[in-house]
């Protein structure tokens, strides 16, 4: 009988070092809860994160955690999955990590559709470098690097992902723990690349997109009448805020389909690459030289 897991099974000795009230705490506890409820053993979880306040999260989840360079969590996570598809692979990072320096990889991970879950903790600012504008900051947002107001339009990451062929797109809010746990569970169980963008307020630097602001400006699509998360066009409409006249941010599972995963399309052998006997197939290896004889 497998032991019943609790979030404590995913706790690390190192306490989380975020500002008091940071939205990332909500993401962390929801993730531990989701992993426990799904019965994932810590040894079988590979958790890859990028750089930034949010990137620190991998250090706070008892697992095989990897805290790499800025913006490159997805290539690492994709390869971990290909190397050992028996692992539950989760990647996490912030809006800067995912939509600025790592935007290219985000697009291509979506295209490839590996069975990996990607959590984008969106606080619409650069926290760890003390409050500059981020790729999801609103136009006009005033910061140290944009004293005259951010001239750039914010990226709609989920809409971009949908256009690129995303197979699972969801958005949560870190102050709604129960909903977030459910979203993460569905995402982790999804066969394919699942993107969960979490509105994760920065209490120190972002004085506009606060908890109160999010509570005021979000809604759950599953409350919308007849919302079909497999309706791609409708998902585009919702993401573009065209459907909701008051321009609120949609939350919940916005879109999902059952496109083939990267592992399937690559015809990955049943046995993980990590378990290949490197001394086997000697004859086949030797035969390769025949083409040069």
């Amino acid at each position: 009988m497998a032991k019943v897991l609790t979030p404590k099974d995913f706790a690390t000795a190192t306490p989380a070092w975020w500002c008091a009230g940071c939205g990332d705490y909500g993401v962390l506890s929801a993730l531990k809860q989701a992993l426990a409820e799904l019965g994932k053993a810590p040894k079988d979880v590979a958790f890859v994160s990028g750089i930034g306040c949010s990137g620190k999260i991998s250090g706070y989840v008892h697992s095989y955690a990897f805290h790499g360079v800025h913006g490159r969590a997805l290539p690492v996570a994709t390869a971990v999955k290909l190397a050992n598809h028996e692992l539950t692979v989760i990647a996490a990072g912030g809006d800067g990590d995912g939509y600025a320096i790592g935007a290219g990889h985000f697009l291509h991970a979506v295209r490839r559709n590996p069975n990996v879950t990607y959590i984008v903790m969106d606080n619409q600012t650069y926290g760890l470098t003390k409050g500059q504008s981020s790729p999801t900051s609103a136009t006009g947002y005033v910061t140290g690097t944009s004293p005259g107001g951010n001239p750039d339009a914010p990226i709609n990451g989920l809409a971009v992902a949908l256009a690129a062929g995303g197979s699972f797109l969801a958005r949560g809010f870190s102050a709604h723990p129960k909903k977030l746990v459910e979203l993460l569970k569905v995402a982790i169980e999804h066969e394919g690349f699942s993107v969960v963008e979490v509105m994760s307020p920065c209490v120190t630097y972002n004085k506009i997109n606060t908890y109160a602001w999010f509570k005021e400006n979000t809604y759950y699509v599953d409350a919308a009448p007849g919302y079909d998360e497999r309706d791609r066009l409708r998902a585009f409409g919702v993401l573009a805020a065209g459907e909701n006249a008051d321009g609120k941010i949609p939350l919940g599972v916005l879109y999902r389909d059952s496109r083939a995963t990267l592992e399937t399309l690559m015809h990955l052998p049943e046995q993980p690459l990590t378990k290949i006997d490197l001394t086997s197939m000697h004859r086949e290896l030797a035969a390769l030289s025949n083409a040069y004889a």
Partner: protein, 662 residues
């Protein structure tokens, strides 16, 4: 054109007693100088015993044989017109004839159009580089003649497609034989396909140098059989059309060259990049991620074709940043992983290489160097990325740079790179360059049994959580390594400085100890690194340093200097980092003249050697950075200039270099 009798007399004239290849080379070099393109001083007057390389045989019926089983052919034309495939075909025929083959591709960075040439050298002894001069130029257009007529050896010959162009008298060298053959016209009229002119040229060549028609036919069959009966028949007919044209028009005009078949034996003809990929596979690589880039793409393509059959995975990444991070991810998960790239991609990978260093993750990075900076000369050779591999990146990490000198060594070092990477848990670079990695060479059968997989301190057995520490301090600096899925081994692998358990801490004492631990692996690994090879007379006054594709021309220069009574020795680096300091110091110690041969402007290897030896007035750089590999004569003349003639050189400053530039 002169008449046939005069032609025979001219070839016979080269067969005077005392004449041999090397005299011809001297003559060629003089010719080059007379054209003003060759900047080296003439070195002639000197004593020493003359050694006959090979007895020149005389065949009365053909008017004499200038060179036997020793031929360098250049196919020149426009990119995309088939020079490369014809060259490959002839390389295969030479191999079947039992000759040693080396090929060199000199092509532009585009798919259609622009001058391209492919050099195929055949001889009885292995040569891992080009000869001094081209014996036979097959020119598909006038541009090829204009570009390369001066590279022809006196006594050599040209096959020129005279269908729509003619060679102006001004560049029609009188010391080579000209075979004007309307290749395209024959192709069109006799075979109904202009494209066939390449294969026709092969028929012409085969006839001119007396290749066994049965062998030619067998190789052509082997290559074209798969493409269907029609294609095969066309190519066989093309060969015959070429041979027949020579019979009808040039029966009285022997080329002076002859090739006779030896035993092929159990040999292979392989390109450097294929050997690297094959070696990596045999060495246990089961994951590759890469981004296409010349001249490294062949490795990615080879792996894409073969790796899945062995349970492995190849990913064409969106860029080199992704490629190296994927390789790191796969290696973190426990699979032997590599990427292959060239300078621009290597630059993009730099940050992540530092991550692999600090996380102690074994990755293998193949760098197939080309001429930089920036896009540089994307299809030409250069050795200007050595500094980059050794010194690039912020912060300091242990790293290894290996450089094979032959196609055969490319296989073994590629396989070995994975053992070094896993045993010492750090990035290992395999450095090669275009003139080696995209060249084909004959080599003995590869010994797969000689490749053993040693995974170092990797454990897949459960460990005790709380006791196990991924970055534990050990005597050799290498910590026991677990991979995801192993019970009890859960930890954080952070790019930030960390303690033994992987927890991020900024403590000063820990920082120092962790740096010491990681860097100490550079010392621990020394016994496992490929040793340099010392060629030549170990007591010689003249000492040469070099690596990679220069091994071929340097070894050849060494042999020929030796035959002229000039003893020299050559230190072939196979490990460039950690730098083999004691071996370098010992090799340099007793030398009267030290030469460092490399393909870059600033003498990157020479500077590394100077770190060890200190500044030496008798150390000289022989360098070249025009995108072309060295020919042996360039090295010989540069050495002779220094070692034998003192005159004008003494006036130059100490830090001067002998720049070989043609």
């Amino acid at each position: 054109m002169i008449d046939p009798a005069a032609h025979r007399a001219r070839i016979a004239g080269r067969l005077e007693p005392g004449s041999n290849d090397e005299d011809l080379i001297r003559e060629w070099a003089r010719h080059e100088r007379s054209l003003g393109g060759y900047r080296l001083l003439c070195v002639h007057a000197r004593g020493g015993k003359r050694h006959r390389a090979r007895k020149v045989t005389k065949d009365s019926s053909s008017g004499g044989v200038l060179r036997q089983n020793n031929l360098e052919i250049m196919f020149g034309g426009q990119a995309g017109d088939g020079s490369l495939s014809t060259g490959d075909l002839i390389a295969g025929i030479f191999k079947r004839m039992g000759l040693e083959v080396y090929t060199y591709k000199d092509f532009p960075s585009r798919i259609r159009g622009g001058h391209t040439n492919y050099v195929i050298r055949a001889g009885e002894r292995p040569n891992y580089g080009m000869a001094d001069a081209v014996d036979a130029l097959v020119a598909f257009d006038l541009e090829a003649v204009e570009a390369h007529v001066d590279e022809l050896r006196p006594g050599g010959f040209v096959v020129f497609d005279c269908t729509s162009e003619s060679v102006p008298e001004a560049i029609r060298r009188s010391d080579v034989t000209w075979y004007d053959v309307p290749l395209a016209k024959i192709a069109k009229e006799e075979l109904g396909l202009e494209l066939a002119r390449n294969t026709i040229s092969l028929g012409v060549l085969a006839k001119l140098v007396g290749m066994d028609p049965a062998l030619v036919r067998r190789e052509v069959t082997g290559v074209y059989e798969r493409k269907g009966e029609k294609v095969l028949a066309l190519n066989v007919a093309a060969i015959e059309a070429g041979a027949s044209y020579v019979e009808r028009h040039y029966a009285e005009w022997p080329s002076g060259y002859t090739l006779s078949a030896l035993a092929d034996g159990d040999r292979l003809l392989m390109m450097g990049n294929d050997a690297i990929a094959y070696g990596a596979l045999v060495g246990g690589c089961r994951f590759m991620a890469g981004y296409p880039i010349t001249p490294a793409t062949d490795v990615l393509e080879w792996m894409a074709k073969h790796l899945p059959k062995f349970g492995g995975v190849v990913v064409q990444a969106e860029d080199e940043l992704a490629a190296i991070n994927m390789v790191i991810g796969a290696a973190f998960a426990g699979v032997r992983a590599m990427t292959a790239t060239s300078g621009p991609g290597q630059a993009l990978m730099t940050e992540a290489i530092g991550l692999a260093g600090v996380l102690e993750i074994p990755v293998v990075v193949v760098e197939c160097a080309r001429a930089g900076p920036s896009t540089g000369l994307p299809t030409k050779t250069e050795q200007s990325n050595l500094n980059h591999l050794i010194f690039s990146g912020h912060g300091e990490i242990p790293r290894v740079v290996l450089a094979p000198g032959t196609v055969e060594d490319s296989f073994y070092l590629a396989a070995r790179a994975f053992n070094i990477a896993e045993k010492y848990q750090c990035p290992v670079f395999l450095l090669t360059e275009q003139a080696l990695c995209q060249s084909k060479a004959t080599l003995p059968q590869l010994d797969i049994d000689a490749v053993a997989v040693d995974r170092g301190k990797l454990t897949t057995e459960p460990v005790v959580f709380g006791e196990y520490e991924r970055f534990a301090f050990t005597a050799d600096g290498v910590s026991p390594r677990v991979i995801p899925g192993v019970e009890g081994g859960m930890h954080l692998a952070p790019g930030s400085e960390h303690n033994e358990a992987g927890v991020i801490i900024e403590d000063a004492a820990n920082r120092k100890r962790m740096m010491d631990k990681r860097m100490s692996k550079l010392t621990a690994m020394r016994r496992d690194l490929p040793k340099p090879i010392v060629h030549g007379d170990k007591c010689a006054d003249i000492a040469i340093f070099g690596y990679g594709s220069n091994r071929g021309p340097i070894v050849e220069a060494l042999d020929r200097l030796g035959r002229d009574g000039i003893a020299a020795r050559f230190f072939e680096f196979r490990t460039l980092w950690p730098f083999p300091e004691s071996e370098v110091a010992a090799f340099a110690a007793e030398a009267k003249h030290i030469f460092v041969v490399e393909n870059n402007y600033s003498g990157q290897l020479e500077r590394l050697i100077r770190y060890v030896t200190g500044p030496l007035a008798h150390m000289h750089l022989i360098n070249k950075y025009d995108g072309k590999p060295f020919r042996p004569i360039e090295i010989i003349e540069a050495i002779e200039r220094r070692a034998l003639l003192r005159g004008p050189i003494e006036e130059e400053s100490q830090s001067q270099s002998v720049r070989v530039k043609r």
